[in-house]
């Protein structure tokens, strides 16, 4: 299939060839790129998108809701892949704050490192950070699965409600503070656990869950090296005798 789109204000429209399209972020604005992905890509039968020269720009490929594969050829800025549904988004570089924030489904893969709040409040889908993730990784996650090849910064999985955070490296201070039903697996050292987070014995189900997530994330690690961190649930109910000393 070959067709030419009619979007973009004043710019030459991107050419779609055999379901593939390249969008040069130095030629098209972020708004034009996202508008194309939201409103034109599905109509034109686009299956693969390559975003060139991202140069750390913010908000690339946010709010997608179509089964498309997006390759971002370089470093991306804040919120890349935010609110994603269905799409598979790969970033061939590092990302700024809040990658895949509030993702619903699909996959976001970062081949470099991620700045703060990676996968924040994600409801579903898979986020893979092949390098390190910074602080507050998986904060308030609500069902997303996150695989981190390296280490995570402080306050990761803070108030995490559902889903899995798998950390192959180390975790900095206050891991899993005020954790709900999300489960954290850590392959390396844990600097400290946050309030109400505790280490629990590993079960065969945990090993299965880790193996599956490692496989989906394309991370090659031995599931036997992980520790399970989950909520002690002591914050679930108000304890009048605790005297505010949690």
């Amino acid at each position: 299939m070959e067709s030419v789109t009619t979007v973009s204000s004043g710019s030459t429209p991107p050419q779609v060839i055999n379901g593939q399209v390249s969008l040069d972020a130095s030629r098209y604005s972020t708004r034009e790129i996202n508008d194309f992905l939201h409103h034109q890509a599905a109509l034109l039968g686009v299956k693969q998108v390559r975003i060139l020269n991202p140069d750390g720009q913010h908000n690339l490929a946010v709010g997608l809701d179509l089964p498309v594969e997006v390759e971002i050829a370089g470093h991306a800025g804040y919120f890349v892949g935010g609110m994603n549904k269905q799409a598979v988004i790969n970033v061939d570089g590092n990302v700024g704050w809040s990658v895949a924030e509030n993702m619903m489904s699909g996959t976001v893969r970062v081949r470099g490192f991620a700045s703060e709040c990676a996968g924040a409040s994600g409801h579903g889908g898979l986020l893979v950070i092949e390098g390190d993730a910074s602080s507050r990784c998986g904060i308030s996650m609500k069902g997303i699965d996150i695989g981190v090849g390296g280490s995570v910064g402080h306050m990761s999985a803070f108030m995490a409600q559902a889903g899995t955070l798998l950390i192959c490296g180390d975790a900095a201070a206050a891991l899993g503070d005020s954790l709900y039903e999300a489960v954290i697996y850590v392959g390396g050292r844990i600097h400290s656990l946050g309030a109400d987070a505790r280490e629990e014995p590993m079960t065969p189900q945990d090993h299965d869950r880790i193996r599956q997530l490692l496989r989906r994330a394309g991370l090659e690690r031995d599931s036997r090296n992980f520790k399970r961190i989950a909520s002690a649930k002591s914050l679930y109910h108000w304890n009048v005798e605790a005297d505010q000393e949690y």
Binding site: D55, Y78, N94, G96, S115, S134, S135, G153, H154
Partner: protein
Amino acid sequence: MCGIVGLQIRNREKQSQLGEWLLPMFSCMADRGADSAGLAVFTTPVAPDVRRFNVYSPDRQYNWQKLRAALMQRSDAPVDLEAVENHAILVSALPPDAFRGWLPTVDPSLHLLSVGRSINIYKDTGHASEIARRYGFGALNGTHCVGHTRMATESAVTPYHSHPFTAGEDFCLVHNGSLSNPYSLRRRLEKYGVEFETDNDTEAACRFLEWRMRTGDDLETALHAAFAELDGFYTLLMATADRLVLVRDAFACKPAVAAEHEEYIAISSEFRSLAHLPDIRNARIFEPHPEEIYAWKV
């Protein structure tokens, strides 16, 4: 929100490109703060018996030659002058304390921006691009520089509240964030005779660090004291004549990214302002950790 940038040229032959490489970094970060902007540039030091005095005037057509003549008379020595509109660099043998006392007697509207053998500071209210164009940032050369684009959140928008802040000689600091205890810090420092020029929170941090260093600390020790004393959010980027130093608060609330390349060290609030740098793809790019001191020797 504010933007910070820093650039150090490692390859001495490329120092003439400092301004050219810096300019897009600086202008890009105006997106994070468009009310004021400033830059400190470190260049070849002047002789040990003279100082660079950077002076700001609210008058864009200020008669700097007149000031130069008055300074020559006061110091009984030659004075070099380099002036652009409302900014002047005067190189003089008058001791810094004497200069500080003398300047307001000549014209109380003038503001002393910096003192040192290497440092020049340019800052004003307005958009970073306009300030950069006025002072010719693109043509600056030197060993290293730190810049700031401000979005004021805690004190007035004036040229004097803009960053970089300086204290003592050949030291400057830019700050992204906000401090919640600048007044208590200030009251403590005032007991030791430290004088303030504004009510800006960053000035308190700057004078605290300079005071610690003046009373015996090296910058690392002073920064460890600052970690204990400063309450609030901060990414601080500092420069001395021979170092570029970066720290973030314990919660790493404000962003920073650093790029180490064999030809340069570049620091910014966001990667996108570094994307144009030559061969950036082969730089080691990383996000600084909270309460760790990153220092690069010039």
